[in-house]
């Protein structure tokens, strides 16, 4: 009896302590969402610039790499962000306008500025555009600032219609105020993400440094800080290892970790909280990852087909040689097995239909509603008519 009493006392004490333990132990771990900060290894990541990093600027790079810097500066990536004063689309149009129900929009050029205005007749918000995102070959969206917060413009310029329309994703939104119609307030992380991928030097150590912003994706965005490389070169010392070269990455690492850090990797897209749907066609690393011929082979990586120093070619024939590097005409399905097993992109089967304009059938152009643009679907496949868009 006494023993039982002692046990009971003990149990009571333990129960009380368990209440505290219970308080101490609450919580759970859900599978973590993909993080913009995530990176692996010691390679340079365009979206992950450590604090204190300073860039020398592309003018310094041009002292040795003049032609490359010049060409890159006029490429799609080089022009991924434009300063409003110099932006051709904005500077060449005195006025752009658009109407959505009771809200009317206009972008008016005033000197070196373009003023973005939205009004419902009673309330008007008018602010100068800070930066223009995108060269405008497909479209161009604007970064705005209002009352200390950054906003993504609710309307964008589209080349196909030569005018304004809803920014992608806003077609179904129903703003209740001029501010809601003005645009979407961007969280700080998202502002940094936008600027990291469209400009150079604006973000380091998870902080915005707009004073250091160089428009577009320039040399050091992909190659990392060039000071040591430049200094060694000026002293006549070997300097190739003093700068990061993404071309040395493996095929998968290049496509997913490096290019995918801006163009969106498969890992990021599969964890997206909202339905990507057809919109996913814009995110090439994610799309190519689902291709049957995807592997770690560099012949299926981004740089196998695209020279990042130049704009992507729109000549389909240009890409034929890239496909034929693996898919040699006349080879049958036995070769496919070899291709699959090796994982090295050995001799893949040739096409039974032809050896020209491969991409026209295997990477179909996809019309993304609202984008006024047809995107090349980088999910390489035998696309059959009427077949649903594969995720």
């Amino acid at each position: 009896m006494l023993m039982a009493h002692i046990r009971r006392k003990r149990k009571l004490a333990l129960t009380l302590s368990l209440v505290f333990t219970a308080f101490a132990a609450f919580g759970f771990s859900s599978p973590p969402a993909p993080s913009k900060q995530a990176q692996r290894g010691k390679v340079w990541r365009p979206t992950r610039i450590p604090a204190g990093v300073n860039f020398v600027g592309s003018q310094v790079c041009a002292e040795c790499h003049k032609d490359k810097v010049a060409v890159q500066g006029n490429s799609s990536m080089g022009l991924a962000l434009e300063l409003v004063a110099e932006a051709p689309i904005l500077s060449s149009r005195k006025r752009l306008d658009f109407r959505d129900g009771k809200f009317s929009y206009e972008i008016v050029r005033k000197g070196d500025q373009s003023i973005y205005t939205v009004t419902d007749g009673r309330e008007t918000i008018s602010e100068p555009i800070l930066y223009s995102f995108g060269q405008g070959k497909a479209g161009q969206t604007y970064l705005l600032k209002y009352a200390g917060d950054y906003y993504e413009s609710r309307v964008s310029y589209y080349a196909e219609i030569k005018g304004l329309d809803f920014t992608l994703g806003y077609q179904d939104t129903r703003p209740q105020s001029a501010l809601e119609a003005f645009g979407r307030k961007l969280p700080r992380d998202e502002v940094m993400q936008c600027l990291n991928c469209h400009s150079t030097g604006a973000v380091s150590g998870n902080q915005l440094h707009l004073d250091k912003l160089a428009p577009g994706v320039r040399c050091e965005a992909c190659h990392g800080p060039g000071a040591e490389h430049v200094a060694a070169g000026k002293e006549g010392l070997p300097n190739k290892d003093k700068i990061f070269n993404p071309a040395r990455l493996g095929g998968d690492g290049l496509s997913q970790d490096f290019c995918g850090s801006c163009h969106r990797s498969a890992e990021e897209i599969v964890m997206a909280p909202k339905r990507i749907g057809l919109n996913g066609v814009r995110f090439q690393p994610y799309r190519i990852f689902g291709s049957k011929c995807y592997s770690d082979d560099r012949r299926i990586s981004c740089m196998a087909c695209h020279n990042p120093h130049e704009s992507a070619s729109h000549d389909e024939a240009y890409y034929d040689a890239k496909c034929l590097a693996c898919h040699q005409p006349g080879r049958g399905s036995g070769a496919a097995a070899k291709h699959s097993q090796s994982g090295e992109g050995g001799d893949a089967p040739g096409c039974k239909v032809g050896a020209k304009n491969c991409a026209s059938c295997h990477m179909p152009k996809t019309d993304l509603p609202g984008s006024h643009f047809k995107f090349t679907d980088h999910r390489i496949r035998i696309a059959k008519p009427g077949e649903p868009y594969p995720y």
Binding site: S29, P32, K42, T167, V270, R275, K292, S340
Partner: protein, 375 residues
């Protein structure tokens, strides 16, 4: 009871010398009980050990010695004594309960679960055992089962705020937000204590109302800076709000006085891993996995960490474990496919690709339409 009967019979029929041994053992045991009641734990321990030296299979002495060791914080020793006692009589449910509690105290929730389950099965009305079972289920991530057990406990003890707190928390973590809110409103609205602010903060967190969550959790930490989990939950709220540095500070603070907090370990380890502070991240993630060996989130973080260290084979093993535990963890399948490609395991990689395609299609159907997915 059976043990006492055996002892009495032994005394009755034993020869004089043996009767003397039994008598001495009883004296040691009685002294142990007396010292234990007076709080002299070391003295009680010596007395019980003396009783056991004379009669090693004394279940009462083994059990009480286990209690003494537990009280001294020597849970490993307590567990050994309880196990020895249960080896003599496996049906001693009170000893089994104490064994489960000892496991619980050292965060071995899986083992504790293995002890509480048979106790509850044998004694369905044992509310304490059921509460502990509910807590263990919670700790091992079995949230629905945990809520079901705790509902029964709460039904029997509706005035027990600790039980209400545990049940509300289980609801919230299981995303049964409405049930959680109703319970919280009923039980905690009037309290105004740090615990009440903590649970309101948890409720806001569950609803992704981040600013109110931050305010509630801050208030909880102000009222009681050492309230377990308050700092780690505030860290989570900061993290979801994008205030990364503040989150790191809160997780660090939690670990200062509550080093075995799962959330703080796994989240801080994750953040350090992202910052490439791998040396700092690894012990945190490994500690998190000591607490919850099968937590897919913690396993995934550790997998990414060992991958960053170039240990591809270990990464693959960890990821394979992740997708075994959580087969629809698409992100883990993506990483696994990529590693298989690197390892030239093309067939495995293709299999993963097919899984990813299926899961992505399923997820796309479930998710709301994208409002904005700008590159």
């Amino acid at each position: 009871m059976f043990a006492c009967l055996v002892l009495l019979l032994t005394l009755w029929f034993a020869p004089a010398q043996e009767r003397e041994i039994v008598h001495q053992s009883e004296e040691h045991f009685a002294r142990g009980v007396e010292l234990q009641q007076k709080g002299d734990l070391e003295g009680a321990r010596a007395a019980y050990e003396a009783a056991l030296k004379l009669i090693p299979r004394r279940i009462d002495a083994l059990s009480n010695l286990g209690v003494i060791f537990a009280k001294l914080g020597q849970y490993d020793q307590a567990i050994i004594r309880y196990q020895q006692a249960l080896a003599i009589d496996p049906k001693e449910h009170s000893i089994r309960l104490n064994l489960g509690i000892a496991y619980y105290q050292i965060d071995k929730y899986q083992q504790a679960l293995g002890e509480f389950e048979p106790v509850v099965k044998a004694q369905p009305d044992n509310i304490q055992a059921r509460f502990l079972l509910g807590m263990c289920l919670f700790e091992t991530g079995k949230l629905k089962e945990s809520a079901a057990e705790l509902e029964k406990v709460y039904g029997a003890q509706p005035d027990n705020t600790a039980v209400a707190y545990a049940l509300a928390n289980a609801y919230l973590q299981d995303e049964q937000v409405e049930k959680g809110r109703a319970l919280i409103d009923k039980v905690f609205r009037e309290l105004g204590s740090a615990e009440a602010h903590l649970i309101f903060g948890l409720l806001d967190l569950a609803r992704r109302e981040l600013q109110p969550a931050v305010e509630e959790l801050k208030r909880a930490t102000q009222l009681n800076p050492k309230l377990p989990t308050a700092h780690s939950q505030l860290g989570v709220a900061y993290l979801l709000s994008g205030a990364r540095e503040l989150a790191i500070q809160e997780f660090k603070q939690e670990l200062e006085f509550n080093p075995r907090d799962f959330i703080a370990n796994v989240r801080l380890g994750w953040l350090y891993r992202e910052d490439e502070k791998l040396e700092a991240a690894e012990p945190l993630l490994r500690r998190a996995l000591e607490l919850r060996p099968d937590d897919p989130g913690a396993l995934f973080q550790l997998a990414q960490l060992v991958q960053a260290r170039g240990k591809i084979d270990e990464t693959v093993k960890l990821l394979e474990k992740v997708v075994t535990i959580l087969p629809d963890y698409t992100q883990a399948h993506v990483l696994l496919a990529r590693l298989y490609f690197k390892l030239k395991r093309a067939d495995d990689a293709k299999r993963e690709q097919a899984i990813i395609e299926r899961l992505t299609a399923e997820q796309q159907k479930k998710q709301p339409t994208a409002e904005s997915q700008k590159p």
